[in-house]
């Protein structure tokens, strides 16, 4: 469906506003139903100080689908499990 067709169905005349609202709608869709997935990879580093287990979530992320780590014994990415609570004894850890 073209942007023009969507505008005609609704009776809108402002293209820029329509495009902005369509992006909002796609944002809602991606937040709820995962229509289209994107993959990013980052290097894991050997931790030497307290913040070396911190990795940034992608800036354009709407919803996480899965997080995996590469198993170097067979070079396969395997899903890892989420912790419900942060391990308390590692807070401000200076010797991880």
């Amino acid at each position: 469906m073209t942007v023009l067709e969507a505008m005609e169905r609704v009776g809108l005349k402002e293209t820029t506003l329509t495009i902005a609202w369509i992006k909002d709608a796609i944002h809602h869709i991606q937040s709820n139903s995962k229509d289209k997935l994107k993959v990013t990879k980052q290097d894991i580093i050997k931790a030497v100080d307290s913040d070396d287990n911190k990795y940034l979530l992608p800036a354009d992320m709407i919803a996480v689908d899965s997080i995996s780590v590469k198993d170097t014994s067979d070079s396969k990415y395997k899903r890892i499990r989420r912790l419900n609570t942060q391990p308390y004894y590692l807070l401000e850890d200076t010797a991880p």
């Binding site: 495009i19 709608a25 997080i67 590469k70």
Partner: protein, 234 residues
């Protein structure tokens, strides 16, 4: 070396960060000292203790190519065969089938974005620049660097949506028909919100989420049958 990662690695989400943890008593850690004493407590966690190139993989949704230049319903050109070769010189993908295989038989046109799968070393996305050779047997492409490769592998070339980076009225919404109709409901909801008619806004938002649900259930068609009860009216 990391192993058993699905059992021994964990993550915790905190703000904009993923915090990675590894089981201290896991298979990649030394459990028993030379004196035979177990060094770690069970289920104790530690930070990652090794470098792994591209080790963390995140799969997520994003506002990814919201507009495309052709509707998804007509982005259907595809070709497959074991007679497809690749040449760096001339940046072309060639078929031994010279009977207008790319354009007439398979439906590709210049400007299409394509994805190559199944090749030994040329799996990537490309853009078709032109066709050349007898019977248009060569597809001249750009976008990724080709590696010389002979025929033999079962190669599949599929047309994929091409992003409209500067969307206008002629751009297509990068969604299937059901989700595009959901977007129309969302636009109506926004129009009524601007007009202050919140009841109609709520109605169309409900329609929007209903269509999202329909689209999901369309992927999972399940039929259920229930045994008739003893006293059921037949």
């Amino acid at each position: 070396m990391s192993s058993n990662v699905e059992r021994e690695w964990f993550y915790y989400l905190k703000g904009r960060h993923i915090l990675l943890y590894q089981l201290l008593s896991g298979s990649s850690s030394e459990r028993i000292t030379q004196s035979g004493v177990i060094r770690t407590r069970e289920k104790e966690l530690m930070y990652p203790n090794e470098d792994i190139a591209d080790g963390l993989r995140i799969e997520y949704t994003a506002l990814n190519e919201p507009f495309v230049s052709e509707s998804l319903e007509t982005t259907t050109a595809t070709a497959s065969g074991t007679d497809i070769s690749f040449a760096l010189s001339g940046t072309r993908i060639t078929t031994d089938n010279t009977n207008n295989f790319w354009d007439t038989t398979s439906g590709f046109v210049a400007g299409d974005k394509i994805r190559v799968q199944g090749s030994a070393s040329n799996d990537a996305d490309y853009t078709i620049d032109s066709f050349s050779g007898g019977g248009n047997s060569n597809m001249v492409v750009s976008g990724s660097t080709l590696t010389d490769e002979n025929t033999g592998e079962r190669v599949t070339v599929t047309q994929i949506p091409k992003e409209a980076t500067s969307p206008d009225e002629t751009s297509h919404i990068n969604l299937n028909k059901m989700l595009s109709l959901a977007v129309v409901d969302y636009l109506k909801a926004m129009v009524y919100e601007q007009a202050g008619q919140m009841d109609l806004k709520e109605y169309y938002m409900k329609e929007f989420y209903g269509k999202l649900g329909d689209n999901e259930s369309n992927k999972r068609k399940i039929s259920m049958s229930f045994p008739a009860g003893v006293y059921a009216v037949r």
